[in-house]
C-alpha cells in the first residue's frame, strides 16, 4: 500500500492534493451556502484563458490562472446582483473564454498535452516547487476567508439586515469572490478547469446535507474533499486511469449517497408533527 509513496511524483501529488482539497472544501462550503456555485465554474473557465495566455508569453500557467480568476472574481463581485440574471451573457463570456484559450494554444506548439492538462488536470505531474506555490496561495486564501468570515456570513444569510447595520454587501462579495478565485486556480492544478466543481462544490454540498451545524459542516467538507482527492490519486495509481476521473467519480458518488433518504428521516417524517 505504501509502496506508491516511494515515488517523488506520488508524494508531491498527495501533498498538493491535501493543500488544495482543504482550501477547496472550506471555501466551497461558503460558496454553496451563498448559492454561488456557478461563479466557481465561471471563474475556472476564465482561468483557462489566463493559463493559456501565460503559456503563450512563456510564464508558468498557474500565474496566468491566478491573475485571470482573481480579476474575473473581483469584476463579478462589483457587478453583483446585476450579473445573476444574465445567464446568456455569462454563458457567452464563458464560451469566449474557452475559445480565446484555444486560440492562445493554437499559437503554442505543445498544443495537445498543455490543453488536456489545463482542462482536466494532471496531479501526478505536479513538482515540489508547485506544491510550495499551492501552499502559499492556499494560506492566503484561507487566511483572508478567516478574517472576513463573520461579516461574510452575516451578509450572506441576512443581507437586508447586514446592510442596515452598515455592512457593505458589495465589499464582502468582492473579497469572497477573490478568495474563490484563488481556490479555483488551485483546484485547476489538480482536476483541471473543467472539473473544478468536483472539489469545490461536491464535498461542500454533501457536507451540508449531512450536518446542519456550520462548524461541523466546514470541517466535514474539507475532510470529504481530502479523502476524495487522496483516494482518487491512489485509485489512479493502481488502475492507471486518470486521477481526475476518479476524483470526479468519488465526488459525485459521495454527493449521491447523501441525497438518498435516510432511515432516520423516514422515521421522522412518518411521526406526526
Amino acid at each position: 500500500m505504501l509502496e506508491m509513496l516511494r515515488y517523488d511524483f506520488m508524494r508531491n501529488a498527495f501533498a498538493a492534493a491535501a493543500v488544495v482539497a482543504i482550501v477547496a472544501g472550506t471555501v466551497g462550503y461558503f460558496l454553496v451556502l451563498r448559492g454561488q456555485t456557478f461563479a466557481g465554474h465561471a471563474l475556472a473557465h476564465v482561468g483557462f484563458t489566463g493559463a493559456t495566455g501565460a503559456v503563450l508569453l512563456g510564464i508558468a500557467p498557474i500565474w496566468g490562472l491566478v491573475l485571470a480568476t482573481v480579476a474575473a472574481g473581483v469584476g463579478m463581485g462589483f457587478m453583483g446582483e446585476r450579473l445573476a440574471q444574465r445567464d446568456v451573457a455569462i454563458g457567452l463570456v464563458l464560451a469566449l473564454a474557452l475559445g480565446l484559450g484555444l486560440l492562445f494554444l493554437h499559437f503554442f506548439t505543445a498544443f495537445a498535452t498543455q490543453a488536456t492538462t489545463l482542462l482536466f488536470g494532471n496531479v501526478l505531474a505536479v513538482d515540489m516547487r508547485t506544491v510550495w506555490v499551492l501552499l502559499a496561495l492556499g494560506s492566503v486564501s484561507l487566511a483572508t476567508l478567516a478574517v472576513i468570515s463573520r461579516p461574510l456570513l452575516f451578509a450572506s444569510l441576512h443581507p437586508e439586515l447586514a446592510e442596515a447595520k452598515g455592512v457593505s454587501l458589495r465589499l464582502y462579495s468582492v473579497l469572497f469572490l477573490a478568495v474563490v478565485a484563488l481556490a479555483t486556480a488551485e483546484c485547476a492544478q489538480i482536476v483541471g478547469v473543467l472539473l473544478v466543481f468536483a472539489l469545490m462544490v461536491g464535498p461542500a454540498a454533501a457536507a451540508q446535507r449531512l450536518t446542519s451545524a456550520m462548524a461541523a459542516g466546514v470541517l466535514l467538507s474539507a475532510v470529504l474533499a481530502l479523502l476524495e482527492a487522496w483516494s482518487g490519486i491512489a485509485l489512479a495509481y493502481y488502475t492507471d486511469w486518470p486521477s481526475s476521473f476518479w476524483i470526479t467519480a468519488l465526488s459525485a458518488a459521495v454527493y449521491l449517497i447523501t441525497t438518498l433518504p435516510r432511515p432516520m428521516d423516514r422515521l421522522a417524517s412518518a411521526a406526526p408533527r
Binding site: L153, Q208, S212
Partner: protein, 277 residues
C-alpha cells in the same frame, strides 16, 4: 423622548416620490400597525428609519438622534425571502450569524453573545426548533427565528416588515400575539406592517396608514374611516365595521388586502389604489 419622529419628511426612490411632507411622532412602547396599499411606502419608510434611504426633505429622528445606518437600537425583520427555505443550515447558526455580524474575524460567539442569542430564542419560543435545519421548518417557524434575530442587541425599536405574509390566519394570530407579548415585556416600540388590519386589531395601539404619498396616524377608529382613507387612496372609500372586523371597500369591492381575499359581492368596479386625487 419619542421612538420615532418625522418632521416634514419626503422620501423619493429614483425619480418616484414615495412620501411627501410627513410629520409624525411614535412614542416609546407603542405598537403601530403600518398599513396601506402595495407601493404606498411601508418598506421605504422602514428603510428610511434605518438610515438606508435618506429623506429628500425634512428630518427623521430615532430615539432622539438623527436616523443613521447601523443604529444598534433598532431591531429589523425584513420581508421574508424564499432563499432561506432551501438552506440546510440549523436555525441556531442562522440566528447566531447576526451576533456582532459587522465585526471581522471568525464567526465564533463569545459567552455573552451566546447567552443573548439563547435569550432571544427563548423570548420567541424557538429554542427547540432552532436545532432543525431551516429547510425543514414551516413558514411560521422561520418567522419566529427572524423575529429572534431582530431581538439580538437589545433594541428599543422593532421594525417588522410584513411578518404575516404567506401565513395562515391561525399562525398570523400567533405571530401578532407573540409581538404583543414582546412589546409588553420589553417595553419597546414596534412598527408592524401588514396588508390586513383585522389580524392586528386588539393588539396594536395605533394605525399608521400610508397612501398617495400621505400618512395618517391614530387609533384605528380615528384613521380607518371613509373620509381619511378616501384621501389616502385618492378615490371614494367606504369603511364597514361588522362582527369586530373592519372592511375597507372601494366602490363595493374590498380595497384593503384585495390580494388575499375577495369576499365582497362581484362587481363591475375594480378596487382602485393608485389614483392621485
Amino acid at each position: 423622548m419619542n421612538a420615532v419622529e418625522l418632521r416634514n419628511v419626503s422620501l423619493t426612490l429614483g425619480d418616484r416620490t414615495i412620501l411627501t411632507g410627513i410629520g409624525l411622532d411614535i412614542a416609546m412602547g407603542e405598537f403601530i400597525g403600518v398599513l396601506g396599499p402595495n407601493g404606498s411606502g411601508k418598506t421605504t419608510l422602514m428603510r428610511a428609519i434605518l438610515g438606508l434611504v435618506p429623506p429628500s426633505h425634512g428630518s427623521i429622528h430615532v430615539l432622539g438622534r438623527p436616523a443613521t445606518r447601523g443604529n444598534p437600537a433598532i431591531g429589523y425583520m425584513p420581508q421574508a425571502r424564499h432563499f432561506a427555505s432551501d438552506l440546510r443550515l440549523s436555525g441556531r447558526d442562522f440566528v447566531a450569524s447576526v451576533s456582532n455580524g459587522h465585526r471581522l474575524g471568525l464567526p465564533v460567539q463569545g459567552r455573552t453573545a451566546r447567552a443573548e442569542m439563547e435569550h432571544a430564542l427563548r423570548l420567541v419560543g424557538a429554542q427547540e426548533l432552532a436545532r432543525r435545519p431551516l429547510a425543514e421548518l414551516s413558514g411560521g417557524e422561520r418567522q419566529r427565528l427572524l423575529l429572534a434575530q431582530a431581538l439580538i442587541g437589545k433594541p428599543q425599536l422593532l421594525l417588522l416588515d410584513e411578518p404575516l405574509i404567506s401565513l395562515d390566519p391561525h399562525r398570523q394570530q400567533e405571530v401578532v400575539d407573540l409581538v404583543r407579548t414582546l412589546k409588553a415585556d420589553l417595553g419597546i416600540a414596534v412598527l408592524f406592517s401588514a396588508h390586513d388590519v383585522n389580524a392586528l386589531l386588539g393588539a396594536i395601539d395605533k394605525v399608521l396608514y400610508l397612501g398617495s404619498g400621505q400618512a395618517a396616524l391614530g387609533t384605528s377608529d380615528e384613521v380607518i374611516t371613509g373620509p381619511v382613507l378616501s384621501r389616502l387612496y385618492g378615490s371614494h372609500i367606504d369603511v364597514v365595521r361588522a362582527g369586530g372586523r373592519i372592511f375597507v371597500m372601494s366602490g363595493s369591492c374590498c380595497a384593503e388586502a384585495e390580494e388575499h381575499r375577495h369576499e365582497s359581492a362581484p362587481t363591475g368596479r375594480q378596487p382602485r389604489h393608485s389614483g392621485h386625487a
